[in-house]
């Protein structure tokens, strides 16, 4: 009973702070060459960027990123947006990330979150999961799962930030 009370209080506190836009927490990731990159260094010269959590074993994730890949060039030309594709494959499966990314011809900033530290810090339950971060580093939009066409909604949100 006491536990439930504590949870309830914590929840109320949460609701109090929810109005603020959150920023991206600081977690070490690796790029596909093994170089350590901290998530607090994500930036796009004052323009918005997208953080997308995916994995090589996740079908809907690959559908989403392949669909966005087809229009990514247009997106970049029109809004200057950048996409960070965060693979949550474990250290073993992450070896398949670079081959998959190259073969698919993706132009994203692909980073590895091998211990799911960033995934937990961002409270991502399951991939695919998308965040949109504005030019000031505030998270302004989040979306769980993927259905065909969701990228259009995401793009509307991106355009709304850049206009």
């Amino acid at each position: 009973m006491r536990n439930i009370l504590i949870i309830a209080i914590a929840l109320v506190c949460t609701l109090n702070t929810q109005a603020q836009n959150k920023t991206v927490p600081s977690v070490d990731l690796k790029d596909m060459n093994g170089k350590v990159i901290n998530s607090s260094d994500f930036h796009n010269d004052g323009k918005p960027y997208v953080i997308n959590f995916w994995a090589t074993w996740c079908g809907p994730c690959k559908r989403e990123l392949n669909n966005i890949a087809e229009v990514y060039e247009d997106w970049q030309d029109e809004t200057g947006v950048k996409l960070y594709a965060i693979s949550i494959d474990d250290a073993r499966r992450s070896r398949q990330v670079k081959p998959y990314v190259d073969a698919s011809g993706w132009e994203y900033e692909v980073l590895l979150d091998e211990n799911s530290d960033f995934r937990r810090a961002m409270n991502v339950s399951n991939p695919p999961y998308t965040f949109l971060v504005d030019g000031n580093g505030k998270i302004v939009y989040q979306h769980i799962s993927y259905t065909e066409g969701d990228e259009d909604e995401l793009y509307e949100k991106i355009k709304a930030l850049t206009n």
Partner: protein, 575 residues
């Protein structure tokens, strides 16, 4: 002050929650961040005389998780509250333990600055590729071996990353998590040469080296055997990336570790994994080899293969996503002896290909085509039993080795052969098609039958997938799958229709029909319907029908579910 486990948990919880209260009271603006997520999976079961699915006494199962973290500058606290009332059928993955009641499943406090990062309480961590140490959570599977203790990560020099861990591992759940009996201690060092030496900073060749040491302690309670109370293991790894070429290898060695899975032999364990990739835009090649012997490494000697694992040895086979290919004959790693290799090649024919061949021109088309092929084979190791009758269970000699084996010599027994080829093509602005072929040779007795002699399964699977854009935001996706085999339960057909209205709705119907089963009563339809509603970070899914055990991906999320007939409601949200 003496406190029982419950009181201790509560006290700790109160301490952990202090910052939440501070956060709520401090309105100075930049005070910190709270975030969290909730997930509830509930199932209502009905009896199904055809599948033999028996509902539990309470007719329902509810699993729920709430996760909260609070971050203030360099300081972070978090906890997960869990409820199992009762747990879903087939949950957790291990059949020897149970999850029941409500309580704290995970809690920690963490402080981090430029030099170090210290965590007390629960944490997930891994060394290298995880072959020697990995604590992780796979919630849908019901696997969670979170550490409970202390972790320190230090980076004293550029490019030098040191980690130290100590603690017990999460085992079961009874109004709060319970830990296993053993203690795990580990050290890991990773050296990124390019970051360490400025001369190499701009080098195209990126090299990092790593070394780990892990030790587990468990008391010897045996009256018959003399068991080692400390079991050490160590390993090393090399990672090299130069432009298009990547190479990684890890070797681990484990000292003698008599346990229930190796029938209490005093033999050392070894494992090696190597992977080579070559990739450039539109082309990728991926080659892997592995061998392992006597590599179960758990912080208790007598638990199920799912429990208290210290190391992590995932299957070498490709993780397939189509229903029939993924759920009927998935390979499981054999830590006590397997050797094999796998290769995968992918090629993307460019759009508007100018290749001479007519076929390439056709495949290139307006949107390009992607072709992928892979093959994996694993055998047992060539093993010679010292006592051919293998009846050494009564032998109490504390030096017995059990068998002789060479780590690089394959035995005659094929555990798995997995071939797959797929062609993925967008035909027009509205239509996408994908065709996939699979061929499996599967040692069912060893992998699923617990060593029982079962005939090897030979299976052919064809899958056609069509995606069609009906109108803006409206899409339909159809999967037609066929599996042919003369063994096990015979032929299967699966049909899936998924209609989605972006960004909120998903409707799907799937039928798996075991029409080739030799038992007339088992020629069953496993029909499942699902509706999902998604809004931003929340998702609600209602599913009903007859579920066969396996991994299911519907409407955008993959999860493992047990065999059951009834209704399932899943809700997830995060903030």
């Amino acid at each position: 002050m003496l406190l029982n486990q419950n009181q201790r948990t509560r006290t700790l919880l109160l301490i952990l929650l202090v910052p939440f209260f501070i956060a709520a009271q401090d309105n100075s603006g930049n005070q910190g961040q709270i975030s969290g997520s909730f997930q509830i999976d509930s199932q209502y079961y009905t009896e199904d005389t055809l599948t033999g699915a028996i509902p539990p006494d309470e007719d329902v199962g509810i699993n729920a998780w709430g996760y909260l973290t609070y971050t203030l500058k360099d300081f972070e606290v978090g906890m997960r509250y869990e409820t199992y009332s009762p747990a879903l059928l087939g949950y957790p993955a291990s059949t020897l333990i149970s999850y029941s009641g409500s309580g704290i499943g995970y809690r920690y406090a963490k402080y981090k600055n430029d030099l170090l990062d210290v965590t007390v309480g629960n944490f997930y961590e891994q060394f290298g590729l995880g072959m020697i140490f990995r604590s992780y959570e796979e919630r849908f599977l019901g696997v969670d071996n979170a550490m409970d203790g202390v972790r320190l990560r230090i980076s004293p020099l550029d490019g030098v990353y040191l980690k130290g861990v100590m603690g017990k591992q999460r085992f079961a759940f009874d109004n709060g998590f319970t830990n296993g009996p053993g203690v795990v201690r580990g050290l890991d060092a990773e050296f990124n040469l390019n970051e360490m030496f400025s001369a190499l900073d701009t080098s195209k060749t990126r090299v990092s080296l790593g070394a780990s040491f892990v030790s587990k302690y468990e008391r010897d309670n045996s009256s018959l055997l003399q068991l080692p109370e400390n079991v050490g293991s160590y390993g090393g790894r090399v990672l090299i990336q130069r432009g298009r070429v990547g190479f990684v290898t890890e070797y681990v060695h484990k000292e003698n570790d008599p346990n229930v899975s190796n029938r209490d032999i005093y033999k050392n364990g070894n494992a090696l994994y190597s992977n080579l990739t070559y990739s450039t835009k539109g082309f990728a090649l991926n080659l892997t080899g592995t061998t392992k012997d006597n590599m179960f490494y758990q912080s208790s000697r007598a638990v199920s293969p799912f429990d208290l694992n210290i190391n992590y040895l995932p299957a070498l086979t490709k993780q397939h996503t189509y229903n029939l290919a993924a759920t009927l004959y998935p390979y499981a790693t054999q830590p006590n002896g397997e050797i094999g290799y796998s290769g995968e090649i992918s090629y993307k024919i460019k759009k508007k290909s100018k290749a001479k061949s007519k076929i390439a021109q056709l495949l290139g088309g307006k949107y390009g085509t992607k072709i992928t092929m892979s093959y994996t084979q694993l055998n047992d190791l060539d093993t010679t039993w010292i006592d051919p009758s293998q009846s050494f269970d009564v032998d109490l000699d504390p030096s017995r080795q059990g068998y002789e084996v060479s780590l690089f010599k394959a035995g005659d027994r094929v555990l798995i052969k997995d071939f797959h080829a797929e062609i993925d093509k967008k035909i027009s602005k509205k239509t996408k098609i994908k065709y996939t072929y699979f061929n499996f040779v599967f040692d069912q007795g060893l992998i699923q039958g617990g060593g029982k002699e079962l005939p090897t399964v030979f299976a052919d699977i064809h899958v056609a997938e069509i995606g069609y854009k009906v109108k803006p935001k409206h899409n339909i996706r159809i999967e037609l799958q066929h599996l042919a085999t003369k063994q096990d339960s015979g032929n299967w057909f699966t049909g899936l229709v998924e209609y989605t209205v972006s960004p909120h709705w998903s409707f799907s119907v799937m039928d798996q029909y075991n029409y080739g089963n030799v038992h007339p009563n088992a020629k069953l339809h496993y029909l499942i319907g699902a509706i999902a509603y998604t809004r931003n970070t929340s998702r609600i899914e209602l599913r009903g029908g007859r579920q066969r055990a396996g991994i299911f991906c519907i409407g955008g999320v993959c999860r493992t579910v047990p065999a059951a007939t009834g209704l399932t409601l899943s809700v997830t949200t995060s903030f």
